[in-house]
């Protein structure tokens, strides 16, 4: 009988009917840490790596402060060792038939299933998150992810023909949610044949345990390597030979913004507060808490935010049964935050919700889209039409209608704008780790001499360059912006030479202000262009194709002057016409619906335009490359600012004459001038949604660097010419993938 100490307690509880602790033991974690003598190194090539003379950081229980283990911090040579292991493993792993990789992933899923208690206890213990969340959501989802991607790997040869694995992938993880965020990224990478080096922040042991489980499966130890170390190692990892991609994710699942219609504001606030009062917080390893903690740093962040909001005049409501000491923080509802207050734009920290009222759905949409972020959103309404209107209009990666936070391996999730443009899950997630077969591998070469401050800043001055030798008909002159030819702001021109070195003609010298004007025109045209049905867009592309056909003799002559054989010149024009027709036809049938487990109802996978695209065309194939890049962007609903071929821009300007009459003004804008200078203007423009740069290696490097300012997706050629005449390179699915983004719209059913 164990019934002496506690029984007086029962009397008391009988009256108060309070909840009690439901502690989960973490003995299994301690036992696992003991196998490592409480010292965690790195897991590389199927073995624990514990180099000597490394700094170590303590891994602690964030609630009790109990010392759990010390974690060695990696040095650059450890990163090199992990990259080496991944490179070696890549040879055998990527060469396997997809079906064999599928078998291996299935075995990993079984391995995780067998040790899931250890995994969830460890994750909850070190992160402080509620064990229920990890056990009931993260672990099952991790298993589903492995199973889904095993199936994708099984049919890879047929379903993903024409694509090959990128190679070694570097992955940078945040401190919380490391297990799940890791699974969303390593599953597709491993499935398609990549190998992975993961860099986790100090004292995040779950990924190490996962790597150990994978490593102990045998034959492919080096496919998953995990290092623990500071973020200063990220450039080291990115610079390792063979590393083809670095994926990273910031902190996820922060606080929330809540927009509530004025007519139901009072009622909603009342219900929300009533519900918040019932929330329970506490130690993560308590099975009956709704929320754990995200550590002392997250708490300080939340506290700071709430104090700031209060000082700006906001109303703050805090409730719930949550311990008052650090690292806990009660669920907090902030309302009446003045729209112009600094906190309104800042990211809301967990566990804070900022509520604001709105009047109409239109206003709500403007408010929701008026932030630099675009991860996910949910819409709550019983009016289906209105919910769908908002669902389509929200500029985010995922929209749930009357639900929140659902995820499934088959549904791509991601974001736009500063939430990042990569996708996880579904087919979209697989393409993140694939490249079209035959694409040259990315070299780790980076020019140290490139001066980001001055690259492309100055435009070399141009002078009259001799007599124009009879171009016929005379090429149009000016920048094609907002549907008409305009004089450049600089009022100067650059000479274009033909293959004989003679002056072919002058084109306008575009500058920063011209790019600004072009981007503005493109934005003005965007709503109208997106609003056109795919069929209407297809019809316009076909009309443009017909106009191009009529212009064939002139265009071929222009190309011939630049040294193209007459036959080849004709073929280039013909192929350009075909590109327009093909993409017109593909404009249809971009969206489809998915069926997922645990949800009655469809999930729509929508392909949405990126917005305003900046495209810098290559020197080679001046007409074909221009058309091959323009056609998919238009077909998928983008508006575009193009910089045509540096050496031969005139054919593109010829086509602009037809676009002036056929397309709505501003949908296509063509700015001629210095390629580097215009690329700089586009890359540094915060309101250009994506940049494609086909030019020098230096220009590519600059474009990537400058585009990081608003995290716009970039596609660069690194100075490698592209086989535009070939179907895969000139009109392949890669273009379609890059010209639109995927949104998942969840539509649960219910009577």
């Amino acid at each position: 009988m164990a019934a002496t100490r506690a029984e007086s307690r029962a009397r008391e509880i009988f009256t108060t009917l309070e909840y009690g602790p439901v502690p989960e033991s973490h003995a299994c974690v301690l036992a696992w840490l003991d196998t490592q003598d409480r010292c965690l190194g790195h897991y590389v090539d199927g073995k624990w790596l514990k180099p000597e003379h490394r700094d170590s950081l303590p891994c602690q229980d964030p609630v009790t402060g109990e010392h759990l283990a010390s974690c060695l911090q990696a040095q650059p040579e450890d990163v090199a060792a992990a990259a080496e292991a991944a490179r070696t493993a890549l040879e055998s792993w990527s060469g396997l038939p997809g079906a064999s990789r599928a078998q291996h992933l299935t075995r990993l899923a079984k391995m995780i299933q067998k040790h899931q208690r250890l995994l969830w206890t460890l994750e909850s213990l070190v992160t402080g998150r509620a064990v229920r969340e990890v056990r009931d959501r993260d672990i099952p989802l991790a298993l589903q992810l492995l199973q889904y991607h095993a199936i994708q790997a099984h049919s890879q040869e047929e379903a993903l023909a024409g694509w090959e694995p990128m190679g070694v992938v570097g992955l940078i993880l945040p401190p919380t949610f490391s297990l799940l965020e890791m699974m969303w990224r390593i599953c597709p990478a491993l499935a398609v044949g990549c190998t992975v080096v993961v860099l986790v922040p100090p004292a995040s042991p779950t990924p190490l345990l996962l790597a150990q489980l994978a490593g102990e499966l045998g034959p492919f130890p080096g496919i998953l390597n995990v290092l623990s170390g500071p973020t200063s190692l990220v450039p080291v990892l990115a610079g390792q030979p063979g590393v083809q991609k670095v994926a990273f994710c910031g902190s996820v699942e922060g606080g929330l913004r809540l927009l509530v219609q004025e007519s139901v504001w009072e009622e909603t606030m009342r219900r929300l507060q009533a519900r918040m009062e019932r929330l329970r917080g506490g130690r993560g390893l308590d099975g009956a808490v709704d929320m754990g903690t995200r550590g002392a740093a997250a708490r300080d962040l939340a506290q700071h935010y709430v104090r700031e909001a209060q000082s700006q005049g906001a109303q703050v409501f805090q409730a719930g049964d949550v311990p008052s000491d650090s690292p806990f923080f009660p669920p907090t509802l902030v309302s009446d935050l003045p729209p112009a207050a600094p906190g309104t734009q800042a990211e809301v920290p967990w566990p804070v919700v900022v509520a604001s009222p709105f009047r109409t759905a239109k206003e709500a949409l403007a408010m929701a889209n008026g932030t630099p972020r675009g991860g996910s959103a949910s819409v709550w309404s019983e009016r289906l039409g209105q919910a769908l209107e908002l669902g389509y209009g929200l500029q985010v990666g995922t929209v749930w209608v009357n639900a929140h936070g659902l995820r499934d391996p088959a549904v791509p999730t991601g974001g736009c704008r500063e939430s990042g443009s990569s996708r996880h899950g579904g087919l979209d997630g697989l393409y993140e780790y694939l490249r079209p077969s035959g694409t040259p591998a990315r070299l780790p070469y980076r020019s140290e001499n490139l001066n980001y401050e001055t690259f492309g800043l100055a435009v070399p001055s141009t002078l009259p360059a001799g007599p124009e030798t009879g171009p016929s008909p005379a090429p149009p002159y000016g920048l094609f912006v907002a549907g008409r030819f305009q004089a450049p702001g600089a009022r100067s021109s650059r000479p274009i030479q033909d293959s004989q070195g003679k002056l072919h003609g002058y084109v306008a010298e575009g500058g920063a202000k011209d790019v600004r004007g072009a981007v503005e025109a493109a934005h003005q045209a965007a709503p109208g262009w997106v609003g056109q049905s795919p069929g209407a867009r297809a019809a316009l592309l076909w009309a443009l194709a017909a106009a191009l056909e009529r212009r064939e003799p002139t265009l071929a002559l222009r190309l011939e002057r630049h040294g193209v054989e007459p036959k080849a010149a004709k073929a280039e024009v013909k192929l350009s016409v075909r590109r327009l027709r093909d993409w017109g036809a593909r404009a249809q049938a971009q969206n489809h619906s998915l069926q997922v487990a645990e949800l009655r109802g469809p999930v729509l996978r929508l392909r949405e335009p990126l917005g305003v695209l900046g495209v810098v065309c290559p020197d080679e194939r001046p007409l074909l490359a221009f058309m091959s890049l323009l056609a998919p962007t238009l077909a998928l609903g983008n508006t575009v600012v193009l910089v045509p071929s540096r050496t031969c821009p005139i054919p593109a300007l010829d086509v602009c004459q037809d676009m002036a009459t056929l397309l709505p003004a501003g949908v296509v804008n063509v700015v001629t001038g210095d390629q580097d200078h215009l690329a700089r203007c586009l890359a540094l423009h915060q309101d250009v949604q994506a940049l494609w740069y086909f030019g020098s290696a230096q220009g590519s490097q600059f474009s990537e660097w400058a585009s990081a300012g608003n995290l716009k997706p970039v596609w660069v050629s690194r100075g490698c010419p592209r086989a535009w005449e070939q179907e895969a390179a000139g009109a392949g699915p890669e273009l379609e993938l890059r010209a639109a983004r995927t949104k998942a719209l969840w539509l649960p059913m219910g009577d």
Binding site: M1, N402, A403, R600
Partner: protein, 275 residues
């Protein structure tokens, strides 16, 4: 029973405004069961509390005086005395909330309870239970007779024909179902009913009681029902005046769990007195 529901003006706009988001309700139902477990002495105390909410019920065609009498005795002594002593709860006067029988057995129950000297109320199902498909006149007569026999609580089967055609009735307590349907008390349905009770309270200040019935057989189920009411309506609803569980087999399972809590062993059925 709580103070009577004084009623309000019938405002059909309340009803037409009701929106139920079924997928969200289903998710909430799942959550509550997973997130609100109670263990050890909390579990024991909660289970004893659950006993005090039970309408200990027998609704069989072959009910007689002897099994109704046994039921009443069990209602008075729901948990073995030694187990209560071990928990130091023997002086709390723990009984079930009521016994619930058919109208014809009300007098048996009243008699048996009087004989054992306790004032547990007798509830009677009435009005053409379980279908309610009899004439208003006989249904009213049935209530009258049950009350005359000593029933102090009546579980009325509402006229579902009227409900389905949008003609509503009022009450002091609402019950999930008769317990005789193929689907009885489920969590999603309960959430909708509890929210309706809460809305009514917010609008009028009147507290309506809630009684799930049918299919609640295990101690674990009963704990989930308690936490559901606690979460959705709050502690003020966790008293017999506002919350009942209609059940027959549940009590025995609770007793077994208490037995296990006290002794550390699982009980055989013969270790516990039957009802």
């Amino acid at each position: 029973m709580s103070a009577r529901n004084p009623g309000t003006e019938l405002d059909l706009s309340w009803i037409s405004k009701v929106q139920v988001n079924q997928p969200a309700v289903l998710r909430r139902a799942e959550q509550i069961q997973a997130r609100r477990t109670v263990k050890k002495e909390w579990q024991a105390a909660w289970l004893l509390k659950a006993v005090t909410f039970i309408d200990l019920t027998t609704l069989s065609g072959d009910d007689t005086y002897s099994n109704v009498k046994r039921l009443c005795y069990k209602a008075k002594y729901p948990i073995r005395e030694d187990l209560l002593k071990a928990l130091n709860m023997h002086d709390k006067g723990i009984t079930t909330a009521a016994v619930c029988v058919y109208p014809a057995r009300v007098s048996d129950a009243v008699k048996a309870l009087k004989a054992s000297g306790c004032d547990i109320p007798v509830a009677s199902v009435a009005t053409g239970f379980p279908s309610g498909q009899t004439h208003l006149k006989t249904r009213l007569e049935e209530i009258k007779l049950a009350v005359e026999d000593g029933a102090t609580e009546i579980d009325v089967v509402i006229n579902r024909t009227l409900v389905l055609t949008g003609q509503w009735e009022g009450s002091d307590f609402i019950k999930t179902s008769t317990g005789k349907e193929t689907v009885n008390a489920t969590f999603p349905v309960a959430i909708v009913m509890l929210r309706a009770i809460r809305d009514f309270f917010w609008k009028t200040g009147n507290k309506i009681g809630f009684k799930p019935a049918g299919g609640i057989r295990t101690a674990k189920d009963s704990l989930a029902w308690l936490s559901l009411v606690k979460e959705e309506l709050g502690d003020e609803w966790l008293k017999p005046e506002l919350f009942r569980i209609g059940a027959s087999a549940l009590l025995l399972d609770i007793e077994r769990q208490i037995y296990h809590h006290v002794t550390g062993r699982y009980a055989a059925y013969r270790d516990l007195p039957m009802s």
